[in-house]
Point group: none
Chain length 418, copies 2
């Protein structure tokens, strides 16, 4: 099955944004054993879009088109699709009704522009979009099947996962089995992972390893491709064995092999223990708590974060002794521990976590380098701190610090459990 | 001048890596006033590459091709270029000598594969590559000029900056001037921006509008293209006039026309006033403070955020009267106002901001729909709240809520100033 992708939008060709949808879809298609054959990026110009649609439809079985489904006058993809197919645009009444209802619930008036999003080529199949207003449209053009998705990444991904990829998976039934697992790691460099996994491919024939850094995480990708006639269950068993060995070799730095993120994993450990947590943050400015409360249901374990961005708040609101701050400075092990202990006490939580450090670009009076960060964990049994030296710019130091703050508790809970 | 890009490589279509070279080059070309017209991504298959080269050369003036210049057998781009141009491959002796010397310095034996990188289409112009071994090759194909660059990002960027972009800049001397401005907006839907700006293009000839949603923001892009012989200063003046009218029409929802983000703008307003701010958050879990403290130097105005994720913390740490929580519930205007007032008082800040609401996926006992959010602003003169009904999933409600929390203060400071 030949699959081509078309991304539309001036912004993609002006360097304003990169086409993350294409990379996402290519990865998912490859995981299905349906690697894309070609990609094209075109401007919001009618003649360019019509030509791209006709060219791709003439040689591919499936064309996935993103962008240009919005309500504004430069959103012309479906007009071009109608032109390429030689049909008229018609209003899809269920979509129009859904748009009116959606806007009405939010108290927004429905303008004629909003209803442009309900205009689709005659004969197209329309799927509702529960992530936004533009529907997903499927259209036959010659012998090709074209899918039109919104370019907004959240909507594109949601609709691709829910509708397009399952449909293509059904079309491709009978192709060689291919299964993929992603090991997500924090706190181990890519070169260390590579070293830890040396020889794994030789020990597990038919398994391929790949590495990718998605700061602040490092990922290892294991791909199992079935031999001719090998049933899916056998391919999955081979992959699971390789995943298990890889996790043994990597150790605690690997936190997930099923796609779940650090906050979700930590949340499950806390729920399993019936434990609660409170934070005191400084340089992360709330990002550690933002991560902690990312999963649905976080209120079962997250009680508080006190972002004490200035020393006065650390002393007067959080209750860190002024004497500690004066003697050691805010970026120090004793203050990190006191912050975690005070957060735990104030919020009456089982665990207290803290983070204090220098995100830059400028340092402080202590003379410690930018990237110096202390995280601490407080429990009923006492508290302990870790010192980190993160490299990179302000954003990077903040992101690593937020992850390190939570990861200290994840590792502690795993040790306690195991 | 029409410019097209071709990226070659299976890895780009398997989701293994994203094509960062293309985004980089598009941005640099746009800055030169030479926006790329189209992009294509093809696999390492001879017939696909030859077809892509011929198609692009038939309609473009310049084609920039990346990838497939390495020493291995799947690096076939220059063989395909020779086939498309109907010429033979020949060895470029200076390149062969440079490869031998480079490998010799590093003590590596020169294999026949290494010398494949010196084989170029007859008649091509060859530029040395001081970033690696594959040379930069320039070839005429019909009336188009083709540049072949290695896909390794460091080499691609180095050669693009040193050779390709200056050459295109010289070709384009005398081309029309092109200037771009981005209006960043929060709190106005794309369809409403389109409506507000209806007729602006007609009133400002030579100005083009484009729209893009980058949740939770909406962006309007204004592009001014100069007439033949129009000096850059005149084009810039026309663009500034159109930007000023667009901002008048959009109103306070447009917060920036120079690329700066909401946190940076708010930070500048606060620094100009010498004012400080403290937050009390709930559903945003620290993300509002994370935004506020994003810009370097945020400690000049950001003092605290108390993320009171559970009611007990709202009452016992933040100091919201328990009676208010019992009577109105945590997601209510009175509690939002009390949270902002208490944050201001606890941190001794000039302004207090708060945010309380339902991020979902589940609601609370109040029966209000998911997406119901109250933000509040407290100052010396008193406090006031706003009610919001945000659509979408948990991530989206949290992101919109964090922005809305800060935007209330931005609008207030602008009103006070103007």
């Amino acid at each position: 099955m030949q699959i081509e992708l078309i991304a539309t939008g001036d912004e993609l060709l002006n360097g304003t944004i990169a086409d993350t949808n294409g990379a996402f879809l290519c990865e998912r298609l490859a995981a299905l054993g349906l690697p894309a054959r070609r990609g094209a990026t075109v401007r919001d110009r009618r003649e360019d879009i019509v030509l791209a649609l006709r060219t791709a439809a003439a040689r591919a079985d499936v064309v996935v088109v993103s962008g240009g489904l919005g309500p504004t006058s430069d959103d012309v993809t479906l007009e071009c699709a109608a032109e390429a197919a030689g049909v008229e645009l018609t209003t899809d009444e269920p979509t129009a009704a859904a748009i009116r209802a959606r806007l009405g619930r939010r108290g927004i008036a429905c303008t004629p522009n909003n209803l442009r999003q309900a205009r689709v080529p005659a004969g197209a199949k329309v799927y509702p979009n529960r992530f936004g207003t533009a529907p997903l449209v499927e259209l036959a053009l010659g012998s090709a099947r074209l899918y039109f998705l919104p370019g907004v990444p959240r909507e594109f991904r949601g609709l691709a996962e829910e509708i397009v990829l399952p449909a293509l998976g059904r079309l491709a039934a009978g192709a060689p089995v291919r299964r993929v697992r992603l090991l997500r790691c924090y706190g181990a460099a890519e070169s260390h992972l590579d070293h830890a996994l040396a020889g794994l491919e030789a020990a597990h024939p038919g398994i391929e390893l790949g590495y990718r850094t998605t700061l602040p995480e490092n990922h290892v990708r294991l791909v199992a491709v079935g031999a001719a006639g090998e049933p899916a269950s056998a391919v999955e068993a081979r992959l699971s064995a390789a995943v298990a060995e890889a996790r043994r070799r990597i150790g605690v730095a690997c936190f997930s092999d099923d796609g779940r993120g650090l906050p979700a994993l930590l949340g499950e450990l806390l729920v399993a223990r019936g434990a609660t947590v409170a934070l005191a943050e400084s340089l992360t400015g709330g990002l550690a708590c933002g991560l902690l409360t990312d999963p649905p249901g976080a209120s079962r374990y997250a009680r508080m974060s006190l972002v004490a961005y200035v020393d006065e708040v650390k002393r007067d609101v959080l209750g860190v002794p002024g004497e500690l701050l004066a003697r050691h400075g805010a970026v120090s092990e004793p203050v990190a521990r006191a912050m975690a202990e005070r957060a735990r006490a104030l919020a009456r939580a089982d665990f207290g976590l803290s983070c204090t450090g220098l995100a830059g670009p400028e340092g402080d009076a202590s003379g410690q380098p930018v990237g110096t960060v202390f995280t601490a964990l407080a429990a009923a049994s006492g508290s302990r701190a870790e010192r980190h030296a993160f490299g990179g710019d302000r954003d990077r130091v903040r992101a690593f610090s937020a992850h390190a703050t939570l990861d200290a508790l994840r590792r502690d809970l795993l040790e306690a459990a195991g």
